[in-house]
């Protein structure tokens, strides 16, 4: 008999349900709200969704190639599999180990708060209109426009066709007491009675991995509700380039699919915020979007192929306005959606937002801005001239490609210190929970601490001799060295949490790309690090990095610590600023026009700078006087 229905139980939750035979474990988990961690959204590439099959091992699919890459023989024998790869053909009990559970995520939605005086594009005006009489016959339109001109000083407005259709009914039903919704000289709606207090907009930061949405009161410029989601496009490609490749290979339907995926998540955030703040989606009249150039194209359904090929030209550079309804967004039917301008193919409106938040275009002093992410953008200059580069730094600092890497969530190790004498370690986790893995800020601190303690040297190599001094330094089954940060007993997982030689190499690659970008940029602008008065560090995990550790590994040019400012995720800040202020939209256009893009890959010095910057902190120690001092104190350099 063919068994078409199976029962899957998830432990330790005890949730269970029936599924068709052949269901993928991850899919089943989702339907029950069992959150299994995943960075690659089911691609089988991140290896974070390890689960153990406790019962029902007879009906499971054999391990895929991807699983074999992430699971050791020992794990396979113990019943461990990847939830996103494994199909079940018989009833089973699945245990979700602590390390694969999603804790409360620290999705950074808040960035620098820059006070901006609201001057929204949409305004609402309560009107008491005198109805027409036989002695004074005027059109409904004139009644509306006259009142707006005389009482509110608004000139040259026009009634939208869609508004006109029901205008006569609405005016009379409301006994001529209505609220006009004015968007850029257009009357986009007429509402019953006085609704002028209820004027909302929605600002979005479209990140390649995370989405953040802000419901805002356009009259006051205040945020009334916030929501965050993972970017669902991840399931069609982990990074922006693989998403573009997906479109190139599968054509327009794939482009539509990517567009619809992100729109539906944005609609979810809108619904969530509206519910929290008791606002109707029809009360959202304006939306604003910020994101990198690939996100712009995939969100607006623009063919992205040629931007991904040298010389990487963007399709649209200027800001663009689209009817929100045309994009499938849930809001007022005549709401406008604005996408903030970009600078280049790899420098998007998220960078424009960065520079806007730190007001770089008006800066007298020379400043540098580094926005750390999978692509790291670096800008340097002042009001006279600004140059920007994009570095392919990769996702190592986000925990990808790192054995025990994870996002900033409950149980993530965010602070690490290593005692140079005992070689023992102290760490702190998010919410002081038992450790599950290491997040970005920990991944900056670990190499800095290991370097100071002499466990790794300036080339990033583990010192074999240290294995004789402490059990914490040991050899992995792959044959490379690693340092144990938390033992199996302390950790919430069933394995030790370590940082391996391979991890250090990945981090070196990422930091070398960033540092080399900064060095080449300075040279190109004929500046030195000493010309920089303030170094702004932006990016999802920017706020949490320890400035000194980052300096110790040479992540950025060496500056006194009080010159370094962390500004967090400014993309969201910029999106909010552009939602509530016309002037800020104009400012964004000016940034896009005036900031010049420089292609690092064609710079003759980039390669040698990259290799020099792959040392910890740098091969050229004359650029690192502070770190030289620091390492001297620790007896690491003579």
């Amino acid at each position: 008999m063919k068994n078409s229905e199976i029962e899957i139980v998830f432990q330790p939750y005890g949730s269970r349900s029936k599924y068709p035979s052949g269901t993928i474990i991850m899919v089943a988990a989702k339907t029950l709200g069992v959150d299994i961690s995943s960075l690659c959204a089911g691609n089988g590439t991140c290896g974070k969704c390890k689960i153990r099959i406790q019962r029902g091992t007879e009906g499971i699919s054999s391990p895929t190639e991807k699983e074999l890459k992430h699971l050791s023989q020992k794990e396979l024998k113990a019943g461990f599999r990847l939830a996103c790869q494994t199909k079940l053909r018989s009833s089973a009990t699945i245990f979700v180990p602590e390390r694969s559970r999603v804790g409360k995520q620290r999705l950074q939605t808040e960035g620098l708060n820059v006070p901006v005086k609201p001057s929204p594009l949409v305004t609402k005006h309560y009107l008491e209109i005198t109805p027409p009489t036989l002695h004074n016959v005027r059109s409904d339109e004139d009644g509306l426009l006259d009142t707006l001109r005389i009482k509110h000083g608004l000139d040259n407005l026009r009634v939208d066709y869609e508004t006109a259709k029901t205008l006569p009914i609405k005016l009379r039903k409301a006994e001529w007491n209505v609220t006009a919704v004015v968007s850029e000289k257009r009357i986009i709606d007429i509402e019953h009675g006085d609704t002028s207090e209820r004027c909302f907009g929605f600002a979005v930061d479209i990140g390649s991995t995370k989405l953040a949405g802000f419901l805002m009161n356009l009259n006051t410029g205040h945020v009334v509700a916030v929501a965050a989601r993972m970017n669902p496009q991840i399931s069609l490609g982990e990074d922006v380039l693989s998403r573009i490749s997906h479109v190139m290979m599968h054509g327009l339907n794939a482009l539509r699919e990517l567009h619809e995926a992100v729109v539906s998540s944005i609609n979810e955030m809108i619904a969530e915020c509206c519910e929290k703040a008791n606002v109707g989606t029809g009360e959202i009249y304006e939306l604003n979007f910020v994101g990198n150039t690939a996100m712009q194209m995939l969100f607006l359904e623009i063919w992205p192929q040629y931007t991904a090929l040298s010389p990487y030209p963007p399709v649209l550079r200027r800001g663009i306005d689209v009817e929100a309804a045309q994009l499938g967004l849930t809001s007022h039917p005549r709401a406008n959606a604005h996408y903030v301008p970009v600078i280049g193919g790899f420098v998007g409106s998220d960078s424009v937002a960065d520079l806007m938040a730190i007001d770089m275009l008006n800066s007298e002093e020379i400043v540098m801005d580094i926005d750390i992410g999978t692509n790291t953008e670096i800008a340097v200059g002042n009001k006279d001239s600004i140059l920007i580069v994009s570095c392919a730094s990769g996702p190592a600092f986000e925990g990808m490609e790192i054995k025990h890497g994870m996002r900033a969530a409950t149980g993530a190790i965010e602070r690490i210190s290593v005692d140079p004498d005992s070689l023992e370690t102290h760490y702190r986790t998010i919410e002081d929970a038992p450790p599950v893995g290491i997040c970005g800020s920990g991944l900056v601190e670990a190499p800095a601490e290991l370097l100071k303690a002499g466990i790794i040297n300036m080339t990033g190599r583990f010192n074999k001799e240290m294995a004789k001094k402490t059990d914490r330094v040991r050899t992995t089954p792959e044959g490379w060295l690693e340092y144990v940060i938390a033992s199996k007993e302390e950790s919430a997982t069933d394995s030790d949490i370590t940082i391996t030689q391979a991890d250090i190499r990945e981090l070196q690659k990422a930091k070398a790309a960033i540092r080399a970008g900064a060095e080449v940029l300075l040279r190109r602008m004929k500046l030195t690090k000493d010309d920089i008065t303030t170094l702004y560090v932006a990016g999802a995990f920017g706020n949490y990095i320890d400035a000194e550790s980052a300096r110790t590994i040479g992540l950025y040019p060496e500056l006194p610590l009080d010159h370094i400012k962390f500004v967090g995720n400014t993309a969201g800040t910029g999106s909010r600023m552009c939602l509530i202020s016309k002037q800020m939209r104009e400012y964004a256009e000016r940034i896009s026009e005036n900031v010049r893009y420089y292609e690092l890959a064609v710079d003759p010095d980039f390669q040698s700078e990259y290799i020099k910057a792959s040392f910890l902190p740098h091969q050229d120690m004359s650029r690192q006087p502070f770190v030289t001092e620091l390492l001297k104190r620790h007896g690491r350099v003579p």
């Binding site: 380039l241 693989s242 573009i244 490749s245 190139m248 192929q305 991904a308 090929l309 040298s310 010389p311 392919a392 300036m458 080339t459 990033g460 190599r461 044959g479 490379w480 391996t500 030689q501 391979a502 190499r505 070196q508 690659k509 070398a512 292609e599 890959a601 064609v602 390669q607 990259y610 290799i611 020099k612 792959s614 040392f615 091969q619």
Partner: protein, 235 residues
Amino acid sequence: MDDDKNTKVFEKLTQAVITGDCAMAEEGANDVLNKGIPPYDAVINGLAEGMKVVGEKYEKKEYFLPEMLLSADAMYAGLNILTPHIKSEDKQKGKVILGVVEGDIHDIGKNIVKTMLTVAGYEVIDLGKDVPVAEFIEKAKSEGAKVIAMSTLMTPTLMSMKAVEEKLKDERLKGKVKTIIGGSAVSETWRANIGSDAFGADAMEAVDKIKALVSSITAAAEALKQEEKKTTDEK
């Protein structure tokens, strides 16, 4: 004993490269010239041997870019002294056409492969970056090279590798000219998909696979020659 003396010098060069010691490499190279050891032997058994160890350490993650840089510096320090003394007929193991494919301009990885190939004794025709599809094939024809090595960092430009493979087929060169692909965006799956002859996961593996490709071509050519000889003999 001559061999013993040579071995010692070779070992010095090997160690100099492994530890990235330029002074020691120069000293070793001068020893080679002073003692009348054939400089080509010193490159192959000394410097190249050192780079081989470096490559192995690189694969084991023990070495990384910084160590590669130091070792390459030491290697070039020795090479600069020895090269002017190498007889030209000693130089050639084979020609390799190398480049970053059309649409991509990221070439650090390609340059590492170039260094490794050069020291292993190959003549590398470096076409640089953003190399048009046709140029790979034209160069292979005009240079008489039997191996084309292509690299890319970015996924969208994977398609350019496919275009080269297709053009090779169109020109009926597939099999006569072998290809190898590499770079961050490339995988064994992609190699199988486009029908390339080899995939090098890193610089070291690329050099090993290119060696294998060259010897398979040489073997095939030998076999063909034998075959032809047999046919002529039969006639």
